[in-house]
Symmetry: D2
Subunit: 342 residues, 4 copies
């Protein structure tokens, strides 16, 4: 059986990535592609790498007949997303890639995103979209809120350690190295090749990055008490990839064991042999996440490192994985392509 989907926000990187992935899915057909400002254009003009595909002409959201859509991917900016989703049919399955439905507490949403939430009732139904940890809820969900890409990476490194009580909850430092596509196709000076290539820097220093809201929510829930982590992202000159280097206090061997056990049956999570460090090179373009653990020379301290592709496992791949769960498809359908190396 073929499921019919629409993608709202098809002219951004996560939209294009969804199309790339769905192209390899046996049972999903793209029925509509919306991009307000580019309505009327062909995808081949917006993303020439999709030139070979037969795709619907870009349209406005209002032009879509949702009665023939089984599931809708929303790859829209936050704030826009909640407005658009409020107006969609209430029985439509939705995978939202924006930040709008990730935080369960509207006050937290407003604190991190600056605007009051305008769809609080809908938010109550949203399931947090970290597939490996919310699998059952996602299967029956109406609306799944895709996670932040940084938030996903950090959680893959830390969730089993927090739920297992293996680390000091008051001393967790996440130093993230992020590729540039996470910032989207926005025209900003610091995203220009001439400004980014051959150099790197921290940003949002001091704990101001919005994905902290997700860390706080998820880690506190797991621990049953408030957990606040330190999180400093860095922008590095690469197009895809997130590498989270996580500094924790705990027993490195026990940590490695906990991760290996937690992910033993997971198709997309690979725990490396003890002491090995993953690389974003080895997950690029794929839905895999590689996790490594090392013992520091200082007793009782461990380093956990997780690597994934922000556009795939961190965003559109995760979205398709969740859609598979919601549609009753194989969870891995369309997602088992190997990384592109070199």
């Amino acid at each position: 059986m073929t499921h019919k989907v629409a993608i709202l926000g098809a002219s951004g990187y996560t939209g294009a990535e969804l199309i790339r992935l769905i192209a390899g899915h046996p049972n999903i057909e793209i029925k509509a592609l919306a991009a307000e400002r580019k309505a009327g254009m062909e995808m081949a003009q917006v993303f020439p790498h999709l030139r070979h595909m037969k795709l619907p002409t870009l349209c406005k959201i209002g032009e879509i007949d949702f009665s023939e859509i089984d599931l809708c991917f929303c790859a829209l900016p936050h704030k826009t997303s909640q407005e658009v989703i409020s107006a969609l049919p209430s029985d439509l399955k939705i995978v939202d890639l924006s930040a709008d439905f990730r935080l369960r507490d509207p006050a937290e949403y407003e604190k991190w995103y600056g605007n009051p939430h305008s769809a609080v009732e809908i938010q109550k139904e949203a399931v947090y979209g970290l597939s490996e940890f919310y699998r059952e809820e996602i299967k029956s969900a109406h609306l799944v809120a895709g996670t932040g890409c940084n938030a996903a990476t950090g959680q893959f490194a830390l969730r089993p350690l927090i739920s297992g009580g293996l680390i000091d909850l008051d001393d967790i430092i996440l130093d993230l190295k992020c590729a540039v596509s996470g910032a989207g196709r926005a025209l900003k000076e610091n995203l220009l090749h001439a400004e980014l290539s051959e150099g790197y820097n921290a940003y949002a220093v001091g704990g101001t990055h919005r994905h902290l809201g997700e860390f706080d929510q998820e880690f506190s829930a797991l621990a049953g008490r408030p957990v606040k982590v330190q999180f400093t992202p860095h922008l590095v000159p690469a197009n895809r990839g997130i590498l989270a280097t996580v500094y924790v206090k705990g027993d490195a061997q026990a940590i490695h064991q906990a991760l290996a056990t937690a992910y033993a049956a997971e198709p997309f999570l690979e725990v490396l042999p003890f002491g090995e460090a993953p690389s974003t090179h080895h997950v690029r373009g794929s839905n895999f996440c590689h996790v490594g653990v090392a013992q520091d020379r200082i007793e009782g301290r461990a380093i956990v490192i997780a690597a994934l592709d922000n556009l795939t496992k961190g965003s559109s791949g995760q979205a398709l994985q969740n859609a598979n769960l919601m549609l009753g498809e194989e969870e891995t359908a369309g997602l088992m392509m190997a990384p592109l190396f070199p």
Copy 2:
């Protein structure tokens, strides 16, 4: 029905790329992976991006039981390849990715590669592996000789123009811009990141690049008279991609029409609207080749530009396409993945 294949030379980039592609093929199983110097190692150690796959341990060629192999990919260095293939069972289907069986005239081989050919009899059976132009011969071939990656790119731009008598045969200039993976995983100073990143240069200037042997052979055969082109490759700071900018004398509109007609039914060749220029960005990681034509401001001169991924359409993708033809599979099986962008 599942076909069983072996890959000889699995520790190089073209070997790894074959594995990546075959992972998405419905009817091919990898039965053996050989790499002489790394025999005994797991692929996950040699190419960690393939860590998630269940693959045979690397072995020596002599350890393979070829009676259970339907087709063998040889991704070995030239000269080694002819020696190894001479010793393989004579009824084994072989796709060779090296330069050893591309040139039909052993004297030409020796001229360009410096050593006498040691398997002249086998060479007589070899079919030149440019799938789109040797399709029927490949279907019934025992041994297919994969083309040079630069040679493939130039031919996609030029063959229909030469066979159509549309251009001046004495004034063809190919200016190629090549990414670094074409040089393989060799440890050479000029391939280091510090030496290559942020700069670019011509190499093999003056018509000394070995792929000229293929151009001479193929273009002369098409034209029915000797054709010698100018060909200057450049090394640019990127990992995948070849862009051929070809300067010809002829009518640009007729040239565009000839290419559009020649490739109308081809699944992997996309001819762009007249005047548009392709980009290697838009074919990366895929088996597609984009071709564009523009009219120069000088009457009677045209520019033809072809872009492909050297490791895919220029090498391992082409090899799998040929294997599909030889095995009676759909020609596109395992090869329709969209390019990775960004």
Copy 3:
């Protein structure tokens, strides 16, 4: 004696490059920096790499007291430049880095730039700023029009061959590979890291690039008859550098000899041994231009390759070299720094 200069358009890359170079000049003091939209800001905010320098606060052009300025660099967009320069004191020495005064024929200017020239009288006084070939005129000039960066590169490869009557004037092809900083700090989608890194493409195909106006003007004047070249620029993923691969018909040895003779006494032009190819790696950040010549395998055809840094020798370095000539300084003052490698 210290010369006092102003830089108009200090918030762009060529403005910043001028400051970098003047920092190493023994006898030039920066007295004013203008940038209309960023007036009031410190350079450290606009270009943090200049943080260590004591520089004037950015101001509006109207705020500058030109009576205390000996020479003014205009690093403004074309069209704006002619308007601004029309309003400057008529006795002020000016080095213009824009395209506005390069073309002596206003009709040619309008043809390539789309707008009628609004300062035709001033244009008559302008000297074309290719230092090595207009040295004497520049010394006594009031207004020097810096060349296009591509135009400079192509001319270094070709002028001695055209003036020496060494090549076929009807068959000259320039295939240029350009780094991204030549496009300036503009916010355009194709200049984003995610869009440019790891790929490359031709642009302005078919002879539509504006620098053709300069080639036409200069080569025709040299030859004493109309000369039209083919010129196709390519955008490659690097920040600095232009590599011109020039295909000509003529005797390669004579060509090499002519270039070696022409540039024997030039401090910034290095002619490589016959057969060697230059690289943009080896001129980055410097005012040097490397030129190489090779004989093609086809008799009577030669390849001339020139490499320079578009922001230095192609723009701001050239501007300072011209300012040195105009001010009676050593031509090389502030310009002998070695390239940055790696």
Copy 4:
């Protein structure tokens, strides 16, 4: 007065960088360049970017007449360096860029570098070459041991905080992001463009990087008690630059104040306004180090970030700075060039 210098190990990146810097020094002349395996070659062959300079032909160390040398830079591999220096005239001023004389305790040297030290007596005379903190000792030193590039970066972030008693000495984490030229011109697979470009990874995880020996020595001496830091380096796809993100427990404002005070009179150290983060983009090719401090959202935690160019301030620039001190030259001579951006 012109000082005559020799550079031993002139065929590596630090050797070439020394030549680049000395080219801009008013009072230093390069009298000899040694490179054992490339003796007899011209520098233009080994480093074509230095083609324009008149430089001595590469020779063997044994061919140098040290009686006419005032100061010798040793840019040799560790272990080789101590052997070579043992055989040099005892009154020759030496700046060593290797690791051989950095660690005062021979047991520590052997622990980190694996071989016993063979020049223990000479080591006793060596002064640790962090110019800003050993200035007086360096002025009168016979042998100065250049610091590790990572070690320098971390110390610029931390020394004033440790000596000022401002941070918890038992909880210091250095997460470093290092460009590839720090690994030298060695032919290693992970340094190839195809392996490094577009991805990044941690290495030497778990506190195994050799520069920890320097951190231990210097921080413990400053604190008057053993101090052990956590240090995880990462390899990022860039050619120059080190960014140290340092996580400490202490008052961020006090930390910022201490750094601002400590570096107020330093010509090469720039402390950014509170809350701003430095970037390696803004120090490339220069001898500057930018330092920033931010307050984490968690009370009592601060992030200190330092950025420098590993080949300049981290190695050859530091070496020239030290040579200036030893020779009685202005400390900044030849070192005030602005960074190259973009």
